[in-house]
């Protein structure tokens, strides 16, 4: 099911409720068929606003057979997902290349 092209969504800075609309718009599937990489490597802070939108994105992607992976720059985002009970729900990568390879070879 995984095509060559990956949709990359980058969100940086402090991702909190004041940026809810921007985050929701960004975390939306394009018309492609390939995997989706959410690049949070530049995120200094992320709260439940992002978590909720990630869950919605993942559900939409599952619906059309696309896979989703996260790229983080520090263990912080992984800890927040774990606290939200979603530790196992997302493939999390610390290296961009590995994430892209996993998404394009369908091993996510």
């Amino acid at each position: 099911m995984s095509g060559g092209s990956v949709q990359v969504i980058r969100l940086a800075g402090e991702l909190d409720a004041t940026r809810r609309e921007e985050i929701a718009r960004a975390l939306t599937l394009d018309l492609g068929r390939g995997g989706v990489l959410v690049d949070l490597s530049g995120a200094e802070y992320a709260d439940s606003t992002v978590i909720a939108e990630l869950v919605r994105l993942r559900r939409d992607a599952d619906h059309v057979g696309r896979s989703v992976a996260l790229l983080t720059g520090s263990p912080r985002i992984a800890r927040i997902l774990a606290y939200a009970g979603l530790g196992e729900a997302f493939r999390i990568f610390e290296d961009r290349g590995t994430a892209l390879t996993a998404l394009t070879t369908g091993t996510v």
């Binding site: 402090e14 909190d16 004041t18 709260d47 439940s48 606290y83 939200a84």
Partner: protein, 131 residues
């Protein structure tokens, strides 16, 4: 000097309040040498309480939000977030997104919510300090 270190800020409960309040708490914990990753998690938990206070606890738009953090013996931090709204019980209401309080409970050692007048969420954290 055994005077306890503490931070108390009261501010209009607008949507822009949580960010500067998080930064004030972060700098307070940094000055108290609270261990880096623990500090990050405490800020996430308190950030959830702060965003709930301004999102759910200030419907009329003229309420205030209070952050009150203080160090207690044996590397314990207690943080209260208080607003003067009314707690919205979701049991049978529209489903909230619902991750916020779960994150608070996962990070804090203890959490109590008092909805008698306004909403007061009191969180107790382990706050180990760097050597």
């Amino acid at each position: 000097m055994s005077v306890p270190s503490e931070l108390r800020i009261v501010r209009a409960g607008k949507l822009d309040a949580p960010r500067p309040l998080r930064h004030a708490l972060d700098a307070f914990l940094h000055a108290l040498r609270v261990e880096h990753e623990r500090r990050e998690d405490i800020i996430v938990a308190v950030g959830e309480a702060l965003s709930n206070a301004v999102e759910h606890g200030n419907p009329a738009g003229n309420g205030t939000v209070e952050l009150y953090a203080r160090i207690e013996p044996s590397e314990t931090l207690v943080v209260d977030v208080r607003d003067d709204g009314t707690f919205i019980d979701r049991e049978h209401g529209t489903p909230g997104r619902g991750f916020g309080l779960g994150i608070v409970r996962a990070i804090a050692r203890a959490v109590s919510i008092d909805t008698a007048n306004g909403t007061l969420i009191s969180m107790t954290f382990d706050a180990p300090t760097a050597a």
